[in-house]
């Protein structure tokens, strides 16, 4: 079953008076439960593609069907709700709130959920257990190592039970041992049924994925 379907996606940026075609004509499908790597040189359009898949940005033209919904026609509020429910984000720079504790960081996406739940803290602790950080719940991010910060970000990505987890260069700031720890956690999550997309330019990282898509100059190679 398809989780993601992109048809003839284009994305143009206007930088000054030059028009940049970041994505030219991208069509691809990602099956539910897949573990996909996106590779490509710097400036090839990986982040642009991830932002659109992550509903942080909208395509200039083309169609994006996520989980059966046409998200390419949604407004800002609807996209916010989709991100909140369906997508978990892991960034290269972790992007944690430094004044908040690990636990509060993990809870952040729950602030924007409509329905009230009373077992949120237990749920967050469960997520921290999955990434092996249960004993660091009350630490501040700056007291953690890079790998631990990224694991916090993964727990945060999991808290609202999203179908899709997208990771843009998740190991870009980490040494290779830590990187493989992170990739093992992602593999484990994939085995439990999460659909995962990882952007990387490192073939060792891409090797954890079941399939790899290569992007070059805004086009999918061989696509």
């Amino acid at each position: 079953m398809k989780l993601i379907e992109l048809r003839h996606l284009r994305k143009q940026f206007i930088a000054g008076d030059v028009m940049v075609d970041a994505l030219k004509d991208v069509s691809l499908t990602v099956e539910r439960g897949a573990f996909t790597a996106i590779m490509g040189a710097s400036g090839s359009g990986k982040t642009t593609l991830m932002n659109i898949i992550g509903c942080l940005d909208t395509p200039t033209s083309g169609t994006y069907i996520l989980n059966g919904m046409d998200v390419s026609t949604m407004d800002d509020d609807q996209l916010s709700a989709v991100r909140n429910k369906t997508i978990g984000f892991v960034f290269q720079n972790f992007f944690l709130l430094h004044y908040a504790t690990v636990l509060e960081n993990v809870l952040l996406p729950t602030l924007y959920v409509d329905t009230l739940r009373h077992d949120l803290k237990d749920k967050a602790m469960e997520m921290l257990q999955i990434v092996g950080l249960k004993d660091r719940a009350l630490f501040k991010p700056r007291q953690l190592s890079g790998g631990q910060q990224q694991r916090t970000a993964i727990a945060r990505a999991l808290i609202n039970d999203p179908d899709l987890i997208i990771c843009d260069e998740p190991t870009g700031q980490l040494d290779s041992n830590t990187a493989s720890e992170i990739m093992k956690i992602l593999t484990k999550l994939n085995e439990k049924g999460k659909t995962i997309i990882v952007v990387t330019h490192d073939a060792n990282i891409a090797a954890y994925a079941g399939s790899t898509i290569v992007i070059k100059d805004g086009l999918i190679e061989g696509g």
């Binding site: 992007f95 509060e104 602030l111 924007y112």
Partner: protein, 418 residues
């Protein structure tokens, strides 16, 4: 929709805690400005509350004073006038006589009651305690009709039988100084070698419109005063006069002045050796003074609120700039534009309400202090409370709007680019 966003954006205790933690933390990095902004709200609220409470207290006091004296009261006092409306004479000459009082009563039809009175200070002794400089006031029985004495109820006020007796009524302060806790009623005090029996003690009255601290006075019957404590048995220094009606006040005042100038042989161009005061004049001067204070307080408060709005605005703008990444993260994990706007509005209101709370407490404390120092009742003005709360909320909202708009414009894609 709105309710949903209120829910989502931090008005639930748990979320509120997180958002307030955020607010406090980020405010902490702009301590100077935050302090200034909060101080502005504190000052604004403080001046508003204090002015409102104090003016209410003054109003209550004036009403109480007017109630204690009859409403249509004139006071004639001997001596040159010091200033307009003041009852404190420049000189303390004793040129009024009982005959003056009788003449006023007889020849002016607007008069309802006259009460000639005389005051003088004496050392007063009770057992081994002597208090010097105690004001003894000789009053006729009519005085008790003009003025409601706050009697303790345990003794009795003067009756006609007391007219020539050596009886005394002790003001609250005078009693405290002299008796130091003993019950004054039934005790003998010595004034000018004469023993007076204290027949009643008074509750505190506070300084009243006649400008004397009446709590320090010991009252004795006028006839007793004139025969025992005075060497000039016809000379007095005060005449209290009640007019038949409020509309008769002005003509009565003029009539008294003409009559007394005549009786005292004051020629054209010479100054009066007495003054006639309408308690309403004193009252209206107080009201005028009060309204100036109220206006100044309102201006101070408006300026403070404006300054603090600008202060909060500048802090919030800085915070939005400093927290772009946080905004990006929150948007990425599902915050809508309204959520972000509400977050910054909450933070701005938080500063403002924190200041208002501090201003409220200090304002009430200050009004308490003023009421204690100025010997006026303590009152809390409800409109004052309401207006300051509204002003604080408006300040918070007004200064939160622009930063919220700025925060909402931030696009997560541009911020979170790796």
């Amino acid at each position: 929709m709105a309710a949903r966003h209120l829910f989502k954006s931090g008005f639930l205790p748990k979320n509120l805690y997180l958002n307030l933690a955020v607010a406090a933390k980020s405010l902490g990095s702009f301590k100077g400005r935050t302090f200034l902004a909060i101080a502005g709200v504190v000052l604004g609220t403080l001046s508003l509350i204090t002015v409102a409470n104090t003016s209410k207290a003054m109003r209550l006091k004036t009403i109480a004073d007017l109630e204690r004296f009859g409403k249509n009261l004139l006071i004639v006092k001997s001596g040159l006038m010091q200033g307009h409306g003041s009852l404190v004479g420049l000189t303390t000459s004793m040129k009024l006589t009982l005959a003056d009082a009788a003449a006023i009563k007889e020849s002016l039809p607007q008069v309802k009651i006259t009460a000639p009175a005389v005051t003088k200070t004496f050392p007063v002794r009770y057992r081994n305690t002597t208090v010097t400089g105690t004001t003894i006031m000789g009053i006729p029985m009519e005085f008790l009709q003009l003025k409601k004495m706050p009697a303790s109820g345990r003794g009795r006020l003067f009756t006609d039988d007391d007219k020539r007796r050596k009886a005394a009524i002790a003001g609250a302060n005078a009693a405290v100084k002299l008796f130091k806790g003993d019950d004054p009623i039934g005790k003998s005090i010595f004034v000018n070698q004469s023993a007076f029996e204290v027949v009643e003690a008074l509750e505190p009255m506070a300084i009243d419109l006649s400008g004397m601290n009446e709590d320090n006075i010991i009252y004795v019957p006028l006839a007793t005063f004139l025969s025992r404590l005075s060497s000039t048995p016809n000379t007095i220094n005060l005449i209290y006069i009640e007019a038949v009606s409020e509309s008769a006040m002005a003509s009565l005042k003029g009539g008294i002045e003409t009559l007394l100038r005549q009786r005292h042989n004051i020629k054209k161009g010479e100054r009066d050796d007495f003054s006639v005061t309408d308690l309403k004049d004193v009252n209206s001067i107080q009201t005028k003074t009060m309204s100036i204070v109220v206006t100044l307080g309102m201006i101070t408060s408006a300026i403070s609120f404006t300054i603090s709005s600008i202060g909060i605005l500048s802090i919030m703008i800085l915070m939005v700039d400093e927290r772009k990444i946080e905004i990006g993260i929150r948007r990425a994990v599902g915050a809508s534009k309204q959520d972000i706007a509400l977050q910054f509005m909450t933070e701005a209101s938080f500063i403002s309400l924190a200041g208002a709370a501090a201003g409220l407490i200090t304002g009430i404390a200050l009004s308490l202090g003023i009421s204690w120092l100025a010997n006026i009742p303590f009152a809390v003005s409800l409109p004052g409370l309401l207006i300051s709360c509204i002003a604080a909320i408006v300040t918070g909202i007004a200064s939160g709007i622009y930063p919220s708009i700025k925060a909402v414009r931030i696009q997560p894609v541009n911020i979170l680019r790796s």
